[in-house]
């Protein structure tokens, strides 16, 4: 078979392994960063829709606004805010990684290293944010 016949798929002589084997993308850093980027993007989008509506209540009355924003200050919502900030921080850092990979050939070759840098920066940011936020939520 000629070397350059990638345009056709011949039935392999031996049956392939049951599970699809490793590829450059599937099941690896590239795929998981994409999955997380997509899920976090959708989550932030729906939060933002609600958030603009709740902020708009400042035009209704101080009482109405304080009533909704009061729900942001409950323990359960406090935990939800940790999740929201976690989603934003990942999406933001990974977004920068995407931009670097697109424009800078070193980053394209080293996208895996960059993914682990994103994860490390995410952990550091969340370690700094979470205790302080939870103290604010639970001590009031």
């Amino acid at each position: 078979m000629p070397e350059n016949s990638a345009g056709t798929l011949a039935t392999p002589a031996k049956p392939a392994r049951e599970k699809p084997g490793g590829t450059l993308y599937r099941g690896r850093e590239g795929m998981w960063s994409w999955v997380l980027h997509r899920i976090t993007g959708v989550a932030i989008f729906f939060f933002l829709l609600v958030h603009i509506l709740d902020t708009a209540l400042v035009r209704v009355s101080p009482e109405a606004y304080n009533a909704v924003i009061g729900t942001y200050q409950t323990p359960i919502m406090g935990l939800g805010e940790v999740a929201l900030v976690g989603a934003i921080v990942f999406h933001a850092f990974n977004g920068l990684r995407i931009i670097l990979v697109d424009f800078w050939s070193w980053a394209t070759r080293n996208q895996k290293v960059l993914f682990y840098i994103v994860v490390a920066l995410w952990i550091i940011t969340m370690l700094a944010f979470t205790p302080r936020h939870l103290i604010n939520v639970f001590s009031h």
Binding site: A6, G7, T8, L9, A10, T11, R38, G41, V42, I44, F45, L48, L49, I52, L53, T55, A56, V58, R59, S61, P62, E63, Y65, N66, I69, Y72, Q73, G78, E81, V85, I88, A92, G95, L96, I98, I99, D102, F129, R132, H133, N136, V137, H140
Partner: protein, 150 residues
């Protein structure tokens, strides 16, 4: 049996030859707005969640205090426009990925567009028509920022 596989980079449909290449500008917008949004959103979260008592300190008076300064008004309006357009365009990509051209796709994209347009107008009006000292019942006067009674 053989099957033909397209070259990995062949586009689903060819790019337009004449006029503006909107997909290209959308791609550029996602990156340009993303860089600016990092600053705007991280600054927003820092001011509202980390300074002072964080989320527990937010109420009508807090918002009035921030929007008394045009700096924060413009910060919020810029964040509103950039984030909503970025998010809506990202959602459009996802709709394109999971639906086929047809009525369902049109309805989903129409809903995205309508939601973004309504919320951009609403949010912009809220910031610029905001009244920090609205008329309230006497027993609610303590909800207003302190500068209202001065």
């Amino acid at each position: 049996m053989t099957d033909t596989i397209e070259a990995p980079r062949s586009p689903a449909r060819p790019a337009r030859k004449r006029g503006t290449n909107w997909e290209k500008w959308g791609w550029i917008y996602m990156r340009a707005s993303g860089v600016v949004l990092i600053v705007l959103i991280f600054g927003h979260l820092f001011m509202n969640l980390l300074v002072g008592d964080g989320v527990s300190a937010i109420d009508f008076g807090f918002v009035a205090g921030k929007w008394a300064d045009p700096f924060w008004q413009w910060w919020d309006v810029l964040m509103l426009w950039l984030a909503l357009i970025h998010g809506t365009n990202g959602m459009r990509t996802i709709v394109n990925d999971y639906t086929n051209p047809g009525a369902v796709q049109k309805v989903l994209k129409g809903a995205l567009f309508a939601a973004a347009a309504v919320l951009i107008v609403l949010g912009t009006l809220v910031v610029f028509t905001f009244d920090p000292c609205p008329p309230v019942a006497a027993d609610a006067a303590d909800l207003l920022p302190s500068f209202c009674s001065a």
